[in-house]
Symmetry: C2
Subunit: 596 residues, 2 copies
């Protein structure tokens, strides 16, 4: 073929567009290869949905395109070609919105197509040239100042006026979503049990720093300054979230606890009883978002004898500092991120600490992860190459979950090679390592189960050199002064930290609404990969996250800073569309296969 990559991409878009305009969805689907994916972030499906293969793509086209009435499929920038894959960015419109997409073509057929909704027509965010004036120039008798208007909003919203959206949970997820909604003029309240925005970070163990680098962590609208540390300490992130909440003018109810939520079918709204500043307040939002953290329902194992332990024991989420245990013995049960961080913090505080590893863990060194896995999208180098945060997010989103493991395997093979000596030393110390069941490494494990790995920022060295002691194997039971292992050995301890992970987010739904509703929502997170802690059937997208659930007007929002930034736009646009009465026919609402 003698066409340029740009011509190739535009030609594909043109024929795709022509087929759709003509209602010939078979022809449109014929533009996709046998191994192909169309991932849509709410621009056509009003769902986060990946159609896998031409038949599924055909169905999704047929179901969504007539209503969406797309047009103006236009190459954005220049196409490119590498290794037989032609790539290009494009923009498009639907009847109700404007979108951006990316596609990859192999041998004239599409391998991956990503379509994402960027804004709703008539409800565009005011930014750049359309930013608010701030002052309304000219005389206005009885004018309210900004401070007066803002104070009035704070005073009345939730009392005289009801929010359209209530967000339960004021961590990074709730805050990022709150900022998006504010810019879309969707009245929202965020409730948070802690005293201040950022406390969900501040209250963790004192040595905690982000394990993801700064380029991956920006919030919407206000990126960190370029002197922000690569791995920000937890209190610094806490302060940032607090100021962000303030300058974004979010309606943030701190020290507020959700006592009970129930759907009032007649009124078509939620009735949510919250304890706010010591008073009971009933909020009546149309939409309820759980932004309670995908790692927030502590998962405690139940071993015989657990109540008999005479020392202090706690879930890792409650661990703050071990300074009081200097010279004493502690056991940390678990071998993932928190377990490692806590072991290192204990060793630094002079505690005699043993990690109890019950099953293998994937360890990736932070530097290697940055260089091999994230660097091309999220780094100074990526920025120099013109890969902005928004673009990086879309490239990330363009890789279908089904195809991801195979793409990740070589990355982790490279990592195994690069850090060979490191892994050998860890194994010599008895540490049980894996690279994921299929060798696909850290990020895929994160998507499948949100656990099972440690990003090494130093604790592995302590394990390798014996500073942090290691015991592998199953636990038989808890004793008065420690743990009895299945192999008959006994580990003495003054303190036990259970770094045993978290349950599914719908556990919060059970607590705040009821078990029935929680069951209807079903398990959150995970792809249905059929690997450990991620039972099939295959779902193709994260269960329940940022998309419609089986319970109307109830949404789940969570994940790391990257996901909070990126998917908050998806969720905010879905909420805004519903508030404005824009039709949002949901294609292929996911059925529930697992309760938790």
């Amino acid at each position: 073929m003698s066409s340029t990559p740009s011509q190739l991409v535009q030609a594909w878009l043109d024929s795709f567009s022509a087929a759709i305009d003509g209602g010939d969805f078979a022809a449109a689907a014929a533009g996709f290869g046998d191994d192909s994916y169309w991932r849509d972030l709410i621009s056509f499906a009003w769902n986060i949905k990946t159609a896998e293969g031409p038949a599924a793509i055909h169905s999704m086209l047929e179901a969504t395109m007539p209503g969406a009435k797309p047009s103006h499929w236009k190459l954005q920038g220049e196409g490119s070609e590498a290794g037989g894959v032609t790539e290009g960015w494009f923009t498009f419109e639907t009847a109700t919105g404007r979108g951006r997409g990316q596609l990859r073509i192999i041998g004239g057929k599409v391998w991956t197509l990503l379509t994402t909704l960027q804004e709703l027509k008539g409800f565009e965010e005011a930014r750049g040239e359309t930013r608010p004036r701030g002052v309304e120039h000219g005389p206005h008798a009885g004018r309210k100042s900004w401070a007066e208007a803002r104070a009035e909003e704070e005073r009345t919203l939730g009392f005289d006026k009801q929010p359209y959206v209530l967000i339960i949970g004021g961590g990074q997820g709730g805050i990022a979503l709150g900022a998006r909604l504010k810019k879309l003029n969707v009245p929202a309240i965020i409730i948070e049990k802690n005293e201040r925005p950022g406390d969900s970070w501040r209250n963790r163990y004192k040595s905690l720093c982000l394990h993801d680098p700064v380029w991956y962590d920006h919030l919407p609208y206000l990126p960190f300054p370029d002197n922000w540390p690569v791995f920000a300490p937890k209190d610094k992130i806490g302060d940032w979230l607090e100021m962000y909440t303030k300058v974004m003018e979010l309606n943030y109810w701190a020290s507020t606890v959700c006592k009970q939520a129930r759907w009032n079918d007649q009124a078509g709204e939620w009735e949510v009883t919250v304890e706010h500043k010591g008073e009971s307040v009933v909020l009546r939002p149309k939409q309820l978002v759980f932004a309670t953290g995908m790692s927030a329902v502590p998962s405690m194992p139940s071993y015989a004898g657990q109540e008999a332990f005479s020392g202090e024991q706690m879930h890792s989420s409650r661990f703050s500092t071990a300074d009081a245990y200097r010279g004493k013995r502690a056991l940390v049960v678990g071998s993932n991120n928190s377990a490692h961080d806590i072991c290192a913090a204990m060793w630094e505080s002079g505690v005699d600490v043993t990690m109890v590893q019950r099953s293998s863990t994937h360890v990736a060194r932070s530097d290697s992860l940055m260089d091999l896995a994230l660097g091309s999208l999220y780094s100074e180098q990526a920025l120099k190459n013109g890969v902005t945060t928004d673009t990086a997010d879309l490239i990330f989103a363009s890789l279908p979950y089904k195809a991801l493991p195979a793409l990740q395997v070589p990355v982790y093979q490279q990592m195994a090679e690069r850090d060979k000596d490191f892994y050998v030393r860890l194994e010599k110390a008895g540490f049980l390592l894996d690279m994921g069941e299929d060798g696909s490494g850290l990020f895929v494990k994160y998507l499948r189960r949100g656990s099972g790995y440690y990003i090494d920022v130093g604790a592995s060295e302590l394990v390798a050199n014996g500073s942090v002691k290691l015991k592998t194997g199953a636990i038989e039971r808890v004793t008065e002064d420690g743990l009895l292992m299945a192999d008959g050995s006994h580990l003495k301890a003054d303190m036990i930290v259970w770094a045993t992970g978290y349950g599914s987010m719908n556990g919060w739904v059970a607590q705040m609404i009821d078990q029935d509703t929680a069951d209807r929502v079903g398990k959150c997170w995970g792809l249905g990969s059929g690997t450990k802690k991620d039972p099939g059937p295959w779902e193709g997208e994260l269960r329940n996250m940022w998309k419609p659930t089986q319970v109307q007007n109830l949404w789940m929002h969570g994940g790391n800073l990257h996901q909070s930034r990126h998917y908050s736009l998806c969720l905010a646009l879905q909420l805004k569309a519903r508030m404005e009465g824009i039709p949002t026919p949901v294609y292929a609402l996911a059925p529930v296969h697992h309760m938790a």
Copy 2:
């Protein structure tokens, strides 16, 4: 000539560089035209200095170049040509630093040359690729967390450890400078009499919004998000400054008042007694910066009978709201920015208000000012044209003050034409207008005297249509119930606001140190243009601002948000160089011609 603009600029730099390397300063000066300027921001002069004409340039070259040992004069980007003027950006090095410059060539000779110091070798700010890691990976027994280290700094600085710099005044100037110093690892404390950062804005009259647009107002490191309003309301700016202070980790002592400062010559340090949280604390910084605001020493006129007035009277700086005067009569003496804003606020509150105009005022409509005067450098359009804030600041800085009025006259002629009807209506209402003594308009007036204008955001309409009454002429004296004018008329009032401006910043030096020191510093601000309130002789730069003064280790910092951003780098680098013992021979320290 057949060379490209880039070749022309590089050729000029090459021959300039060769002349300097050879010590032939006459040859170097010969590269400048008869009407030429070399403005240096501390890269060679360790002063903010404009040499005007080849002879002065020759002298400055001869005095500064042998010590500075410049090298690597290199075109940055591409040169350009328009209307016979060839322009180019360039970088260079000196023995101690790296700089950026801009030049304009007419007929082969330089018309304007700007040289600015950007960073000190060996003391570069950590940003981008060199940003801090945040966490120090790896085990560190007894490690301090970020929060612990930060708390220790706050606890000890000013007590166990002395700051190198004390900044008096925590408005935008002190905060911007504080952020620069923090990034340069210069221990500094900012003291501020108000309770919270941002209160210097919050405490003003409630309708106040910035009169400058957002693109002109960014602080260093952390630009406003792109949905920030064009003209931010005062409380919103207040909140921003507060969060900025927090996330930049500034050592900000709020509710702290400077009681007395004196130079201890033996110790080579200042002894500054401050009242901090109700206690007297003596601080011993090496350097003292007054960032007390270039408009902060209220200037009250003295009219006979002033104490006899039975109603409330106050300086405009103390005016907050007139809500209590609804239906009553108020006089606002003055006709500049504050007077107009206060009159409008009063009218909006239902007060019967009269503006008392004693002399003519320059009025520029906000939209026209943005379009005609600022737009090419500070606007969405400028950003689209690739003019970043940093670049805009340097272009702004590249225009010599001597040449500026002539360049500004056409802008204001255009404005007079564009807003002809508006000006006619104002004059019909009796308002006394001017465009500056030489027609050079608003910004030049700001530089010469910091006053004498109103940026119209609506109040002029009220004056034109009589909603705000107008009385022009001299005041004879104050009476028990109003003002007696020189023309014999009497204006009755329940309240008088004296919007009569501010005195020179060295008034603060008199208050906090002594009159002798204030006199040695001399008048601050103004160019020596020989126009009203800016007596000659010509100085060529703003008096005493951001550069060495006649009093060692004493500095003045102030101005609008643009100047606070841009010149804080100059001042911070001067302070850092002194702290590190880098030679900073000051060329042409300005003599003092006026005490106030």
